[in-house]
């Protein structure tokens, strides 16, 4: 069973790292933030698996703390940043990705 759980943890880590691509590509700020949200959830899953694999009860506390604070970053994003401004920011930076982002957001 331990082997199976380890494989499960590895697959979760892979799915987490796939999320990195979405953080990098965007295009919108909301997409990046959503990917970060997925990181939080998957992180909780991995910590739970590790807790069972290493048989260390203390790790459940870490999973608990992670899940308590899962929404904080997205709360800050929603309450403090404007979407349009990200477009203005990006245009001054003029990277290829971000101009593509503007087009997409404008649609």
């Amino acid at each position: 069973m331990a082997d199976f759980l380890t494989i499960a943890a590895i697959v979760l880590l892979i799915s987490l790292l796939l999320g990195l691509i979405r953080v990098w590509r965007g295009p919108g700020a909301a997409d990046r933030m959503l990917a970060a949200q997925l990181f939080g959830t998957t992180g909780v899953g991995i910590v739970l698996l590790l807790a069972v694999i290493t048989d260390n009860g203390a790790l459940f506390d870490i999973a608990l703390v992670l899940s308590l604070l899962a929404a904080v970053a997205i709360l800050a994003f929603v309450r403090r940043l404007k979407l349009q401004q990200s477009a203005a920011d990006a245009s001054s930076l003029s990277t290829k990705n971000d101009t593509a982002a503007n087009k997409k957001e404008g649609q």
Binding site: L34, A71, K82
Partner: protein
């Protein structure tokens, strides 16, 4: 009996992990932000949910089991609220949406 339990656990954890993977692939493949929110919530609800149920029998004490369940409930609340908030923000702030 314990064999049966192991099989059920394996199936639950396997499906849960699969949902995480599907969620990530959805996040990558879906065309716009709204559909990506949809993909994401599958990972939170079903992926973590099945994983949690599958891991429950490993808990050493009822308190620990409650802690594991609480993780899932909290993630459910966080993901549904943030999905709503992000969608709401997009709706309000996107010029042509």
């Amino acid at each position: 009996m314990s064999l049966l339990l192991t099989i059920v656990q394996t199936i639950l954890i396997g499906t849960g992990v699969l949902f995480f993977l599907v969620g990530s692939i959805g996040l990558l493949r879906f065309p716009d932000t709204y559909t990506r929110i949809h993909a994401l919530t599958k990972a939170d609800n079903l992926g973590l949910g099945m994983l949690v149920v599958g891991l429950l029998p490993f808990a050493n004490s009822p308190q620990q089991a409650l802690k594991i369940l609480l993780c899932w409930v909290l993630i459910l609340a966080a993901s549904s609220v943030s999905a709503y908030l992000v969608a709401n923000k997009l709706q309000n702030e996107e010029p042509d949406a």
